[in-house]
């Protein structure tokens, strides 16, 4: 099997697994307990907080552990919105291709009376600092723009966007779930006020994440109960998960350049190979792109049947077609970069990592080429495109 869906989730690293094990049996105490056995767990928790903070270049008290990226996104946005509303500011800026954890939270706030501006991401999948500057108003309380897109892997000019926000005194949050551990993230150097992380995207465990919030930004609790995480996130801490995440984060950050140097040539080999398939096109710019992300649209075929046949050939991938998204419309990300419905249904995302070989890449290229050709041969839509009854979307 070739697992080419690493943007969906990753295999845990041995380092992360080993870091978790002591907290299942030896050090299983509750960090809130007074006795030494509980305090041992508390120490481990605070040690992890300091190490995560070091990876992001912030202070330990600016780190809140959550159940994952979605919770961190929810809490960041709700906190900034409540903070803004107290000062009469109820305008939020974001982009059209954010993760649903952001978009659906914004939708809920819109129902409460907040005004939301979603910036265009162009055909490149990039938003510019100038767009953000133009959109900021006197009543803007938050700008939330993802660090890197989960489907097409485009990496936004976060430092420059955040600089505009800092200058305009607007809180800046970034959903960095796809970026952390894969591209350099430094909250001080990049002027970031709030940031969301999910452990299982960088070989850590599922069900654990981080919300970084710069001191001075008050957090609103979204999980109410006990006084854990300085009263901002109730619930007994997932120590094993936090320990696994911390180890995985340190490992990923330490090897970030080395991993990128291995992955980028493989990614580009895959892109070059798939680009030979006629009437297909890469989604999102090649220049500003995560090291492991490849995303194509192919005319005349539908994504779900493509994935099922690739699965038969041992390749795990994903698609933004309606049939795989569980809704009637294809991926909002592909629509946001201007792909028409009919080609958005024929999309394929392959997300690789440093462990791939050229042989794996060549196998994927051959498998995708074969399956696309096979499906096109039974597609009346493709027949119409070939004989000119319908216009092609792509030039070649």
């Amino acid at each position: 099997m070739i697992y080419a869906d690493n943007a969906s989730t990753t295999k845990m690293s041995i380092t992360a697994i080993n870091a978790m094990l002591p907290y299942f049996d030896n050090i299983y105490g509750n960090p809130s307990s007074l006795y030494a056995f509980g305090q041992e767990a508390k120490e481990a928790l605070e040690d992890c907080r300091a190490r995560v903070a070091a990876c992001l270049n912030c202070e330990p008290r600016e780190i809140t552990f959550t159940s994952g990226g979605s919770e961190a996104d929810n809490q960041a946005i709700i906190s900034a919105a409540r903070f803004g509303a107290k000062k009469g500011k109820k305008h939020i800026i974001s982009t059209a291709f954010e993760h649903h954890a952001v978009l659906h939270t914004l939708k809920a706030l819109e129902k409460e009376g907040f005004e939301i501006t979603l910036l265009d991401v162009h055909t490149t999948g990039l938003v510019t600092p100038e767009q953000v500057r133009d959109a900021i108003r006197d009543d803007t309380c938050l700008v939330t723009i993802m660090f890197a897109n989960n489907e097409i892997g485009t990496v936004e000019p976060i430092k420059e966007i955040a600089e505009v926000c800092r200058e305009k005194k607007v809180v800046f949050h970034t959903d960095a779930v796809q970026a952390v551990g894969h591209v350099k993230v430094d909250v001080q150097e990049q002027n970031i006020d709030m940031l969301s992380i999910s452990a299982h995207k960088f070989h850590g465990p599922k069900g654990v994440g981080v919300l970084y919030a710069k001191k001075g930004i008050p957090l609103t609790s979204v999980i109410n109960g006990g006084a854990q995480e300085r009263g901002k996130r109730a619930g007994t801490e997932n120590i094993a998960g936090i320990a696994g995440m911390t180890a995985a984060l340190e490992e990923a950050c330490k090897n970030i350049d080395e991993n990128a140097a291995k992955t980028i040539p493989l990614r580009d080999r895959l892109i070059a190979g798939l680009d030979k398939i006629p009437y297909g096109e890469l989604n999102g710019t090649l220049e500003k792109r995560l090291p492991g992300n490849v995303n194509f649209c192919f005319e005349g075929i539908e994504g779900e049947s493509l994935l099922l046949l690739l699965d038969d050939k041992g390749v795990c991938a994903s698609s933004g077609s309606a049939c795989t998204s569980g809704s009637l419309d294809p991926s909002h990300v592909l629509l946001a970069i201007g792909r028409p419905h009919e080609v958005a249904h024929g999309s394929l995302r392959l997300t690789i990592n440093e462990e791939f070989t050229e042989k794996d890449i060549d196998y994927i290229i051959e498998a995708v080429t074969d399956v696309v050709t096979y499906l096109r041969n039974m597609s009346p839509f493709w027949r119409d495109l070939v004989n000119g009854a319908r216009p092609h979307v792509f030039a070649k």
Binding site: E302, L308, S321, A322, C323, P330, H341, P380, W382
Partner: protein
């Protein structure tokens, strides 16, 4: 549990009757590219019997499997019987489809009916118009 039954996967992996019939007696196409599925059915009819049938489908796994199964169900059958084909029969023959995929079986039924209607129209044969829903609006599809 897998998304699809073994029957669906079998008809998806090894679709029966894929292709085109040149000079077909009836052709029916339903769906559109915006919605992500198009089915096209070709019928050869001799003495009121469907002697051959072929299909082409652009769509998901269940759309391809539904087309394949539907062609199997009508091949060699008299036209009067083919007219009775329902999407339910296609679903049952496939050992079920997930709820959000049922529209694929509806498309298969509609494509076959549209091909029959084409056959009647081409040959000037009188028929009960109420048996043929107007598919042009494609109500199962996404908003365009």
């Amino acid at each position: 549990m897998a998304l699809y039954s073994e029957k669906v996967m079998d008809h998806f992996r090894n679709p029966r009757n894929v292709g085109v019939i040149e000079n077909a007696d009836g052709v029916g196409e339903v769906g559109n590219p915006v919605c992500g599925d198009i089915m096209k059915i070709y019928l050869k009819i001799d003495n009121d019997v469907v002697t051959d049938v072929k299909f082409e489908t652009f769509g998901c796994g269940s759309a391809i499997a539904s087309s394949s199964m539907a062609t199997e169900l009508i091949k060699g059958k008299p036209v009067s019987e083919v007219l009775q084909l329902t999407n339910k029969a296609v679903v049952e023959a496939l050992d079920g489809l997930p709820a959000h995929k049922l529209h694929c079986s509806v498309l298969a039924e509609e494509a076959i009916k549209k091909a029959l209607k084409d056959y009647y129209d081409k040959n000037g044969i009188e028929y009960d118009r109420s048996l043929f829903p107007d598919c042009d609006g494609c109500e199962h599809c996404c908003g365009q």
